[in-house]
C-alpha cells in the first residue's frame, strides 16, 4: 500500500467527530480613518509611511528619499515610478541582483490593522529582488487600504466587496485558470477598490509588514536581518492621474 493510502486510511479510521466550519462573517475591527491607521501601523512595525497626492508627487517623494539618493543600483518594477537601472527580463539568475540597493514595487492591497502590504509575485520577474535589495519601497493606492486582514483575504480570494453577500462561490475559483487576473493591471492604473485578486493565480504573493528584523539575540530587536534594512511605503491618493 502506498504511504498516501495508508495515511489517509488511518486518518479516516481515527477521525474525530464531524463539526461545522464556522462562518467568517462578523463585525471585525474597523477604523474611522483606515489610511491614517495604516500609516501608524507601518511605523509601529519599523517601517516608514508617506502619503502623496499623485504620480508626480510620488516621484518627487521617491527621489528625495535618502535611500534612493545614495543608491547606485535601483530596480523599479513600476513603469514611470522612480529610476530603473536593471531590466529584470534580461537577468538570467536572481543571484545577479545581489548588489541592488533599492527595489521599488507595487502593492495591490494594504491592511490598516497591521501595516501589511500585499505584493503579488506575478508582476515580478525575479521575486528574490524583494529580499536581496538593501532597501525596499512599496507603492500602494489609498483606495487599496482594507480595514483588517479578513477584508484583505476577501479581496484576495475574489470575494471582493460584492462577494461578501454571497455573490461569488468559492468553489468556482479554479486556482490555476482564473483568467480575470492579468498581470500588468496595476501598471495600467486600473486598480479599483474591491477588485478581485485571485490568490492562487500567481505562484507567489506575500504580505510585507515592516523591514526584515530579528530579536534572536537576547530579545534585542535588530532591524535588517536577512532581507531589506528599511521599508518605505508610499500611499498615493490619485494613482491614475
Amino acid at each position: 500500500m502506498s504511504s498516501k493510502r495508508a495515511i489517509l486510511r488511518q486518518i479516516r479510521q481515527n477521525a474525530p467527530p464531524a463539526s461545522d466550519l464556522p462562518s467568517l462573517e462578523s463585525d471585525w475591527l474597523r477604523f474611522d480613518d483606515p489610511c491614517a491607521q495604516f500609516m501608524e501601523a507601518v511605523e509601529q512595525v519599523g517601517g516608514r509611511a508617506i502619503r502623496v497626492r499623485d504620480l508626480a508627487a510620488l516621484n518627487t517623494s521617491i527621489a528625495s528619499l535618502q535611500v534612493t539618493q545614495d543608491a547606485k543600483k535601483i530596480v523599479s518594477i513600476l513603469p514611470d515610478v522612480g529610476r530603473n537601472d536593471v531590466r529584470l527580463s534580461e537577468v538570467d539568475r536572481p543571484h545577479a541582483l545581489e548588489d541592488v540597493d533599492v527595489t521599488i514595487a507595487g502593492g495591490e492591497l494594504a491592511v490598516a490593522e497591521n501595516g501589511a502590504v500585499w505584493v503579488s509575485g506575478a508582476e515580478i520577474e525575479h521575486r528574490a529582488v524583494l529580499f536581496l535589495c538593501q532597501h525596499l519601497i512599496l507603492v500602494v493606492s489609498t483606495a487599496a487600504v482594507a480595514h483588517n486582514l479578513h477584508e484583505a483575504y476577501d479581496r484576495l480570494t475574489g470575494l471582493g466587496l460584492v462577494g461578501r453577500n454571497g455573490g461569488a462561490d468559492q468553489d468556482e475559483l479554479e486556482p490555476h485558470q482564473s483568467g480575470q487576473y492579468q498581470s500588468g493591471q496595476y501598471q495600467s492604473g486600473q486598480y479599483q477598490s474591491g477588485r478581485a485578486i485571485p490568490l492562487a493565480a500567481s505562484s507567489y504573493g506575500l504580505f510585507i509588514s515592516g523591514p526584515s528584523k530579528t530579536a534572536d539575540i537576547e530579545q534585542s530587536l535588530v532591524i535588517g536581518a536577512q532581507g531589506p534594512r528599511t521599508l518605505t511605503v508610499l500611499l498615493v491618493d490619485a494613482l491614475n492621474s
Binding site: 479516516r12 477521525a15 512595525v45 486556482p175 504573493g205 526584515s212 530579528t214
Partner: protein
C-alpha cells in the same frame, strides 16, 4: 533524562535561570498587549478553534483536496508515514538534483525528523538560515524554543561563537553588530545554495497553496534563489479555506511575539517560473494521535510558542530540560502522545496553573491534557515506585477521616519537633528547594468551631465575600498574575 534532573542543570546557575525567566515574561507581556488591542480577540480564538476541530474531522478529505489542487499547480506532492520516510524522500530529491549545499528556513518538523543529521550523513551540507537556528546549529545544539530557538543563549556567548566561527571581533557582544555579521555570512550561503528547504505554517486545501511566516525574510530567500524548493509539513497544518488565514494570521504573530503580523507572510502556489517545488506531507504518528479524544486536540497547535512563554515551569527550567523537539506545555502533551515511555516525566513539568490554556490562540485544553496524562501514566505504571507508594498512602489518609485526623495531629504535634535531617532527607524531593511552611497550632476545624454559629456573623461573612471577589479580580488581571509569579519565586 527526567525533566527534573535536566532542569536541575539549568537552574544550577540561578542568575541565568532568572534572566531566562525574565526574557520570556517580557515576550508574554508583549503578547498580552497585542491581544488586548484586538477587541474581538476571544471571538478569533473561538473561530480558530472551531476551524481546527472541523478540519480534523474531515482531514482525509481536505488532504486529498489539497493534494489534487497543489498537483494541478505543478507542485510535486510526497507522502511520508514517518520521520525515516520523510528523510529518505528529501534526500532522494536532493540527490536527483546533485545538490551539495542546502539552505533551510525554520521548520520544527524537520527538527522532529532529524533531517539535518540525515542529510549530513550523506554528504549534503545544511545551513539553517534563521538567525536563532543558525546560532544553535553552530553550537551543535537544538532549538530550546519553537519560535525563539536561541532564547537560552546570552549575547556574550553568541559573540564568542561568532568570533570563532564567523571571525567577528573578539569580545564583541552588540546584537546589532552580531546580526550584521550573520547577515553577511548567510547571504553568501543563500547565494551558493543549490536547493532550499522551508517549513509550512498553513496549507490551504481549497487552493493547494501554503503559507510560510518569518520576520527575517530568510524563508523567501531560501525559496527564491535556488531553483529547487522543498517544503515539509505535518499533515495537521491544513486549513480548509484561504480566508481562514485572516483568522490565523491575526492570531499567530500576536500570540508569538506581540507583533500584529510577521514581517513576511509568503503564499506559495506552485513553483517559481523555471523552478521546481516539492511538498512532503508527514504523518509521523499524527494520524494515531488524532484518535484520542483526550489528546487529539493538541494537533490544533499552530506553533506560536505562547504557552511556553507563559509557563512558569518552562521559563524556569529552559527548553532543553524537556529533552524533546517541542518543549513547554504543548510539548509535554505531544511528546507522550508520540511515546509515553520516553517522556513520562513531562506531564509533571507543570504546576497546573492553567495559564497555557488561557493564552493558546486555538484554545487547546493544555492543562487538562497534562492532568489527564498523569492519570494515564499512573495507570500504565510509568511513574516511579516512590510516587506510586506515596500516592497510595495519601489515598489511604484522604479516604479515612480518622486516619486523616491522626495524621494531622501527628504532623502538628510531633512534626514540628522533628530534626531537620529527618524532614529534609533524600526522600523528601519536594523539600529540596522548599521549606515546609510553619505548622499551625490549631486545625481549620478547630478554628471554625471557635468562631461560633454562622447566623451570628452576617456582616463579617459579607466582608469576607468582598475580599474573595477582590482576590479573584486580582487573579484575573495581568498584575495579579505577576504578583503570584513573584510569590512563586520566593
Amino acid at each position: 533524562m527526567k525533566h527534573a534532573q535536566a532542569a536541575a542543570e539549568f537552574i544550577a546557575d540561578p542568575e541565568r535561570a532568572h534572566w531566562h525567566d525574565q526574557a520570556l515574561w517580557f515576550v508574554r507581556a508583549k503578547r498580552d498587549k497585542a491581544a488586548q488591542a484586538v477587541p474581538e480577540w476571544e471571538q478569533l480564538r473561538q473561530v480558530a478553534s472551531q476551524i481546527k476541530a472541523h478540519t480534523m474531522g474531515q482531514l482525509a478529505d481536505y488532504l486529498e483536496q489539497f493534494d489534487a489542487r497543489a498537483s494541478a499547480l505543478g507542485v510535486v506532492v510526497h507522502w511520508a508515514r514517518d520521520a525515516g520516510e520523510h528523510n529518505r524522500i528529501v534526500l532522494q530529491i536532493l540527490q536527483q538534483h546533485q545538490v551539495r549545499h542546502v539552505v533551510k528556513s525554520k521548520s520544527m518538523l524537520t527538527e522532529e525528523c532529524g533531517l539535518n543529521g540525515h542529510l549530513e550523513q550523506h554528504g549534503i551540507e545544511v545551513v539553517d538560515t534563521d538567525l536563532g537556528e543558525r546560532i544553535v546549529q553552530l553550537r551543535g545544539e537544538h532549538p530550546s524554543h519553537i519560535v525563539l530557538p536561541a532564547i537560552h543563549i546570552k549575547k556574550a556567548e553568541v559573540g564568542e561563537l561568532f568570533h570563532q566561527r564567523l571571525g567577528t571581533d573578539a569580545g564583541a557582544t552588540d546584537p546589532k553588530y552580531l546580526t550584521e555579521a550573520a547577515r553577511q555570512h548567510l547571504r553568501q550561503e543563500f547565494l551558493r545554495a543549490d536547493a532550499g528547504i522551508t517549513g509550512v505554517n498553513f496549507a490551504i486545501a481549497e487552493t493547494g497553496g501554503f503559507v510560510v511566516c518569518t520576520n527575517e525574510g530568510n524563508a523567501d530567500l531560501t525559496a527564491s534563489l535556488p531553483k529547487l524548493h522543498i517544503a515539509c509539513m505535518g499533515i495537521e497544518k491544513l486549513i480548509p479555506r484561504a480566508r481562514d488565514l485572516g483568522v490565523f494570521l491575526r492570531l499567530l504573530a500576536r500570540s508569538a511575539t506581540g507583533q500584529p503580523i510577521t514581517s513576511y507572510s509568503s503564499h506559495f502556489h506552485g513553483p517559481q517560473p523555471g523552478g521546481e517545488l516539492h511538498l512532503v506531507l508527514v504523518d509521523n504518528k499524527r494520524s494515531e494521535i488524532l484518535a484520542s479524544s483526550d489528546f487529539g486536540r493538541a494537533l490544533h497547535c499552530i506553533r506560536c510558542g505562547a504557552c511556553l512563554n507563559t509557563c512558569p515551569v518552562y521559563r524556569r527550567s529552559g527548553g532543553h530540560s524537556y529533552g524533546a523537539t517541542i518543549a513547554g506545555p504543548i510539548g509535554s502533551t505531544l511528546n507522550p502522545s508520540h511515546d509515553p515511555g520516553a517522556y513520562p516525566t513531562l506531564p509533571y513539568a507543570c504546576s497546573l496553573c492553567g495559564s497555557c490554556s488561557e493564552v493558546c490562540p486555538v484554545k487547546i485544553d493544555l492543562d487538562h491534557q497534562l492532568f489527564t496524562w498523569r492519570d494515564r501514566l499512573v495507570r500504565q505504571g510509568l511513574v516511579p515506585w516512590w510516587k506510586r507508594v506515596s500516592m497510595r498512602a495519601l489515598g489511604l489518609v484522604l479516604r479515612s477521616p480518622n486516619i486523616y485526623r491522626l495524621t494531622g495531629w501527628l504532623t502538628r504535634n510531633v512534626g514540628r519537633h522533628l530534626p531537620r535531617w529527618l524532614l529534609y532527607n533524600r526522600l523528601n524531593v519536594w523539600g529540596r528547594q522548599r521549606e515546609i511552611p510553619p505548622l499551625p497550632k490549631k486545625t481549620f476545624a478547630e478554628l471554625y468551631a471557635e468562631r461560633g454559629p454562622v447566623a451570628s456573623r452576617g456582616t463579617q461573612s459579607q466582608g469576607e465575600g468582598s475580599q474573595l471577589d477582590e482576590g479573584r479580580r486580582l487573579g484575573e488581571s495581568g498584575a495579579g498574575e505577576a504578583d503570584r509569579e513573584n510569590r512563586d519565586v520566593q
